[in-house]
């Protein structure tokens, strides 16, 4: 194919190089080339947030980002949250508070909530709802998603015990 470009970035801490056409979307690179099928394609029009990933400290909908825009970037997907077999507080929160049913939106929800808690470690319920407004869930009615984020916020605010 024409005009392929090499793009290098870090994905969940690991260096990756991909050769892509300039038109290729980040979500397709992640899912098709790099076997990271955690971020989902729900709408491909930036409405649903299922493809949300963290790109250089910002939440982005990876169906609206070109892979060639990611040169030298730091990309975090849901696959990068578990550290050494220990779940992230958000992953724990979503399962403990029943913040998911079918789970399709969950990777985007967790990644978005992560960005929220980085910016605001103790958000109010209203702030959580505002920050999560770009992520749609058709199962839960959002109540337990809010609880899951609150669970994680509480857990992350506690002093770390020796793990």
């Amino acid at each position: 194919m024409v005009n392929k470009q090499t793009v290098s970035f870090t994905l969940n801490g690991a260096d990756v190089d991909v050769v892509v056409e300039p038109r290729e979307l980040l979500i397709h690179t992640l899912r098709e080339r790099l076997q990271h099928t955690g971020p989902h394609i729900g709408c491909e029009t930036s409405h649903c947030g299922a493809c949300t990933v963290d790109l250089n400290g910002m939440s982005v909908k990876s169906c609206t980002v070109l892979t060639v825009q990611c040169q030298d970037a730091k990309v975090l997907t849901v696959e990068g949250f578990e550290q050494g077999g220990a779940l992230h507080a958000l992953q724990e929160g979503f399962t403990q508070e029943h913040g998911l049913q079918c789970g399709f939106c969950t990777p985007g929800m967790i990644t978005r909530a992560y960005r929220l808690l980085q910016e605001n470690p103790s958000p109010s319920e209203e702030e959580i709802r505002y920050w999560m407004a770009g992520n749609l869930c058709r199962c839960t009615g959002y109540q337990n998603i809010v609880k899951a984020v609150q669970y994680a916020a509480n857990k992350m605010s506690l002093p770390r015990t020796g793990t």
Binding site: R31, H36, T37, G38, P39, H40, I41, T77, V78, E79, F81, E82, L87, Q91, F94, T95, Q96, E97, H98, L100, G103, F104, T106, P107, I110
Partner: protein
Amino acid sequence: MTATTESLERETKLQGLGSSRLRKEDARFIRGKGTYVDDIKLPGMLFGAMVRSPYAHARIKSIDKAKALAVPGVVAVLVADDLKPV
């Protein structure tokens, strides 16, 4: 669910009646390992696209596949007749 006195009582005295149960399927969903249909990759998979009628109320007299089949990379164009044996 955090362990409150009430929930502990449900667990012990009522043997779990009325208490929330953790779901065993969550483990994969919260890690991005859900294996939804679109996550599955098999050898020889192709992309498919639907072509719908631009007319809300009309009769199909014929479908000419020739132009579509001539597009490079197109493997098959399937219409209702092709599905009849199925």
